[in-house]
Every structure is written in C-alpha cells, then in structure tokens.
Symmetry: C3
Subunit: 216 residues, 3 copies
Amino acid sequence: MQNTQATIEWWAANGSIIFESLGILAFALSGLIEAARKKLDLVGMTMVTSLAAFGGGTLRDILLDRRPFYWVQNFAWIYIIIGLCAVSLVFVRNRHLDLTERAMQWPDAIGLGIFTASGTQIALMANMPPVVAVIMGTITAIFGGVARDIVVNEIPKAFINQEPYAVIAFTGGWIVVIGNALGWASFASLWVCALVTIAMRLATMIFRWRVPAWRV
Amino acid sequence: MQNTQATIEWWAANGSIIFESLGILAFALSGLIEAARKKLDLVGMTMVTSLAAFGGGTLRDILLDRRPFYWVQNFAWIYIIIGLCAVSLVFVRNRHLDLTERAMQWPDAIGLGIFTASGTQIALMANMPPVVAVIMGTITAIFGGVARDIVVNEIPKAFINQEPYAVIAFTGGWIVVIGNALGWASFASLWVCALVTIAMRLATMIFRWRVPAWRV
Amino acid sequence: MQNTQATIEWWAANGSIIFESLGILAFALSGLIEAARKKLDLVGMTMVTSLAAFGGGTLRDILLDRRPFYWVQNFAWIYIIIGLCAVSLVFVRNRHLDLTERAMQWPDAIGLGIFTASGTQIALMANMPPVVAVIMGTITAIFGGVARDIVVNEIPKAFINQEPYAVIAFTGGWIVVIGNALGWASFASLWVCALVTIAMRLATMIFRWRVPAWRV
C-alpha cells in the first residue's frame, strides 16, 4: 500500500522526464533514419534529427508564446543529438544497412503518441479551449516530421500518403481533454493518451487503413 | 439621416466580423481548390486549407507578438474548415470538375484585398512605422499562399510568375495608411483599401500585366 | 594616446552599426545573386534578398522572444533592399553576367562571420546558456540561406553539400563566449569572432575541406 503510494509519487516526480525523453529519442531516431536515407552530411543529419525531435514542441511554444523552449532549458540534449549523429555516422557508414522507409515508422509511432499527449496537456494548462489544445497537441506531434520532410524537399508524408497520422493525433488528443475533465492525475491522462494513440497508429500500419482522398 | 447613422453604427460593430469572414472563406476556398488539384488526402486538404486561410494572419501575429491568434479566439472556424473539407471531399470526388489553376485566382483576389487591408490596419494599431505596417499587410495577404505552395513543394507562385501580386498588396496597403492619416473611420479605410486592391488584382489578371524579371 | 582612446570610443558607439550593416549587405548580395540565377521577378528578388539578409536575425529574435526586429527598428533598410533589387534588375538584365554559384560564396562568407558573432552575442545578453547562445548564433548565420534555398525549392545547401558551413559558425561562435568570459570589450569579441569565422570559411572554400557524410 505504502509501496503503491511511493510508486505514484515517484512517477509524479520523474515520470514526465522519462516520458518526454522517450518521445524525443523516438523522433530523433526517425529523423536520423530519414537523414541517412537522404545521404545528408553530419550537419544536415544534426539539423534534420534536431528538427524531428524538437521542431513540433518549439512551434507549439512559439504559438503559445511559451519560453524557455525544452532544448534551451535542457541544453544537454544538444550535445546528445550531436553525439548521436556523429556516432551513428561513424558506425553505420561502413556497413550496408537497409534503411527502408518502413523502418522509420516504428520509433515515429512512439513519438506520435507521446507528443500528442504532452502537447495537448501543455496547451490545456495554458488555458486554450479544448479543440485548440488538441490542435496544439497534433501540431506538436506532426510538425517535427513535416519540417523534416520540407527540409529534404518532399511533400510532407503526413499530408499526402493517405495513412491516418494527423487524424490519429487529433483523435488521441481528446483523451487528455476527457481525462482532465474527469479529474484524472496528469500522468495518468498522459500515459493513457500516449498508449492509445500509439496503439491506433500501429493498428493502421498493420491493417493499412487509409484516409479518403480525391480520386486519381 | 438617423437611418444613415444606424447603418454606420451597425457596420462599425459588425463590419469587421463580416470583413474578416469573407477574407477567410475566400482564401480557404483557394486552398481547397489547390489541395484538390494536388490530390491531397483529407488531412492534407485540411492543413493546406487552414494554412491558406490562417497562415498569413498567424505569421503577422507572431511577428507583432500578438496573442491570441484569430483561430484560437474564434475556434469555431476549426470545425468549419474541417467540415468544409470533408463535405467537398464527399461531394466533389465522384464527379469530374475541371479545377484549373485559374479557378483559384478569383477567390484568391478577394482574400488578397481583405487581408492587405486588415493586416496593415492591425500593424498600424500596434504602432508600427507606416512602411513596416504595409509590409505586415503584404505578409498577411501573401504568406498563406506562399505556405500553401511550399507545403505542396512548389516555388511560391507569388515569387516567380511575374504577375503583380505582392506588388499590389504593397501598393494597396498604403490606402489604409493614408486613410488613417486623413482621419477616416477605420471601416472606411478597410473597405476602400480592400476594394481598390481587389480591383487592381482583377485588372492585372484581365489585362495580363507583368512584373519585370531577369531575361531568360 | 588620446587618439587611441577616441578611436575606441568611436568604435564602441558606431562599430556595431557598421558591423551589422556589412553583414546585412553581404547576405543581401548573396540573396540577390541567387535570385538572379533563378530568374525570379522583382517581387521574388526582393523577398529572397530580404530573407537572406534578415531571415536569420528574425528567426533568432522570434526564438528569443525579442522585439522590435532589426528591420522594424531600422525600416530604412526596407527601401534600401527594394531599391537595390530594382536597380540591379534594370542594370544587369541587359548584359550577360556569368553569375556562378561560386560568386555568391564570397559575400556569403562575410555575412556568415558577422552574423555568427552578433547572433551569439545577442543570445548571451539574453542570458542563454553558452551552447544555446552558440546555436542561436549559428541559426542567425545560416537560416537566411536555408530560407533562401527552401523558397526557391532546393534542399538547403548548408545541409547537404558537405562543405563545412554550419560547423564553422558553430565553432566560431565559441570565440564570443570565450571573449565574454575573459572580459573582452564587446566589440573586440565581435570582430575577432567574425574575422576568424570568415577566415575559416575562406580556408575551407580554398582547400575544399569536406564534412563526413554517408557513403553513396
């Protein structure tokens, strides 16, 4: 009983750091794979990886007029991203790795769930109306990938490939809104939202669901 | 006489809502046509339509450090845009519509005039120097279209096609500056500027005037 | 002796204006050459030239939440840029000029050094941690060129061409950090940083050094 209490307290204190870090690492990994596929140099890799990891949260903070940014407050991440890119460049360049477009989607799904949850929560705490908070969560989750694609000169995958991606973020975000309305603890809303969103994304990847589009 | 007075009061109270709404709908329509031409899916359509409708005003507000954004304060617009995209997807996809590049230009001209006027006015009220206010009006008017083109991976039409577009916004914006200097009522400056700007745009479309460019 | 004192005072008062103006003109020139090479029209030229000259500093100020922007406070620059584009359009279009990609790199190197220095300094004065200040300096120095390339629909040269460019800005920026820590006068840190950064850039251009990249 006391154990459960201690566990809850530990999660309330450290959970959000673990949560955010998981999301950042997942998106950084997706950016790294994309950068490798495009054969960018070390600088381009660092930029694309950083944009994928921090682009969504930074745009959300600009829109909400929040400062400091996550990567300013936790600037150790700058060294981590540079190190990650340098190490993977050295270790990976000399062997054949089949970096398929599909490989990028697994870490990407984890980032999608986590950033949808944290983005929506942060916007709600900034007194945004529910639908705006969910849009902010969606922007947090997808803009990193959109910026990554624009920088490497592609139409953003999220806008054109008919896979349910932004739709899933937009749907999942409401879980945080509902959780808050029901008085759940903050970390509970966050994790439930993230896990459901990740599960929805994996389901659409496995069952190949599609968003309607104009007939070709 | 009293009737005229009442009319002026009614316009002072409600005119700006009608004015802004007309501009948003006009730009949203231009975004919708572009999204359909590019065969984007429902998510991409919503994004491109939203960017076209709110991108210019949002960038202006970021540059002026103004909050809340129009779409945050009037968040019903988020549902309207999503609904508009969903409905047009369902109704239009099953019939042949010849969505020419030209079709987009008519609503776009209306949006150009309205946003030039309101963007310049808002910047003047934020104490910007006249030329900066006119630049802000121009940004409000053209950035939605620029973002729309960048997202679908084209060189922004406003920068390359030699049609006078940004030039017209930059010229028209001075009408608001002059109107304010002459002490006109705010809604008078806005409507005169918008109508003259729209007329200039239509004239250049009909008479095919061109901006000078480098020789090919 | 008194002469030296007067010289130092004069530089402390006017040096930063000369410094900034040199950087802006250098980047504006690089934007102008790129716009001419892409055969943009007068509007596109003005936009690309303005983005190259003010894009980096504006993004830095948005990230740091600083206002007013340089081009708002010194709005005469808006007329200078427009005039520069109009004049060069009139004078250059009628003669053959071999505007090679290489021609752009000389003024660009000067802009790189100056904006790295001023961007890092401004971020330090806004109480950013050293590594964040250097990143802000790097963003100030490279984002103008990145925006210029994105707008003309190319993968930003800074991310892909393996020339040490952002790396040089990131390295050079630390000179300002070190100078401040050692208690140098502000204009001394700025000029030493700028000159060393320009020298490094020229060296890499002349000796064709390369950043490691994925094997093709």
